[in-house]
């Protein structure tokens, strides 16, 4: 989510590279985020290869901002 909040859209391969995840793990995470409505996933073909593009949704941005705000509140108290 931190990666997606910084960009308009990102390819699956970029997310895999930056998170050092396996394709399987990342796919599971992406599916969970998609089911929660936090990201949109677009599957298309580029040069006959499947391409997956992820974009954060408004709901995802709000949820992430809420999460960071809660983290900061907790850290300020400790």
């Amino acid at each position: 989510m931190s990666l997606l909040i910084s960009v308009k859209e990102a390819e699956f391969t970029f997310l895999k590279e930056k998170t050092n995840s396996t394709a399987g793990n990342l796919s599971v995470q992406i599916q969970k985020l998609k089911e929660s409505g936090y990201i949109d996933v677009i599957k298309q073909f580029k040069d006959n290869y499947p391409q997956t593009i992820c974009k954060i949704t408004k709901q995802g941005i709000n949820a992430f901002e809420e999460y960071v705000k809660n983290l900061q509140t907790y850290l300020d108290k400790t």
Binding site: L3, V7, E9, K18, G24, N25, K46, D47, Y74, L75
Partner: protein, 226 residues
């Protein structure tokens, strides 16, 4: 599949910061387009200077090279879009600015090519002919480039409007900017009197109407959050 390890608060903040930094440092601007346009405009400008200074003509308008450069630019754009893995918000906004810049340059060239003839026509409709007295005493007809100030203003009005409309995906502003460009095209053929009318209409359609739409959305959102 690996078990998910719950993160502590400090670890979470650290991870978020690290990921945001990874995007910031991911460099994907190849510089190819800048090299292309820098070379083309540089060559055209310098060759044109040489032609004018030493008073000779190479046989064709060197600035046509700039027009021809659009073709490789299209291929560069297609190739770069294929290899691109992310689009940042900054990039999307800057792309909008360059697109609008391209449209504006094209319209400015149209302006340079149409305004002199249109001015001649408007002057002759009022029975006015511009004449020049040369130093040897002879008098001949003279075509002087009288700038159409209203047209230039309309061209400028369209630039931020279109860029904002594209960057924010605010369709009303995109359509307003297109209307502004239509007003610009019309103004290349009309007198100053009508240019001012077009400028006034541009102000209303470019900014007043979109502003009222934004105000309505803002007030609605404010009412919901109270």
């Amino acid at each position: 599949m690996e078990q998910e390890k719950p993160l502590g608060q400090q670890e979470s903040i650290q991870l978020i910061t690290e990921m945001i930094q990874k995007v910031k440092h991911h460099f994907h601007e190849s510089g190819t387009s800048a090299i292309l346009w820098g070379s083309v405009v540089g060559i055209a400008g310098l060759v044109n200077f040489v032609e004018l200074y030493w008073k000779f003509y190479i046989g064709f308008d060197i600035w046509l090279l700039v027009l021809a450069a659009v073709i490789p630019q299209v291929f560069i754009t297609i190739r770069e879009n294929r290899t691109r893995k992310i689009i940042t918000y900054t990039e999307a906004a800057i792309n909008a600015i360059w697109l609008v810049y391209g449209i504006s340059i094209f319209l400015l060239v149209f302006y340079f090519n149409t305004v002199p003839a249109a001015t001649d026509k408007l002057l002759s409709q009022h029975g006015v002919i511009l004449l020049r007295r040369n130093s040897d005493g002879t008098i001949d007809a003279f075509r002087y480039f009288i700038p159409s100030h209203g047209s230039l203003l309309l061209l400028l009005f369209g630039i931020p409007t279109m860029a904002t409309g594209i960057a924010h995906k605010f369709r009303i502003m995109v359509w307003s900017a297109i209307l502004c460009y239509i007003f610009f095209l019309i103004s290349c053929f009309t007198s100053n009197v009508y240019d001012m009318l077009l400028c006034g209409l541009a102000g209303i359609f470019n900014w007043l109407i979109p502003g009222l739409v934004l105000r309505k959305k803002y007030m609605r959102q404010k009412a919901l959050s109270v």
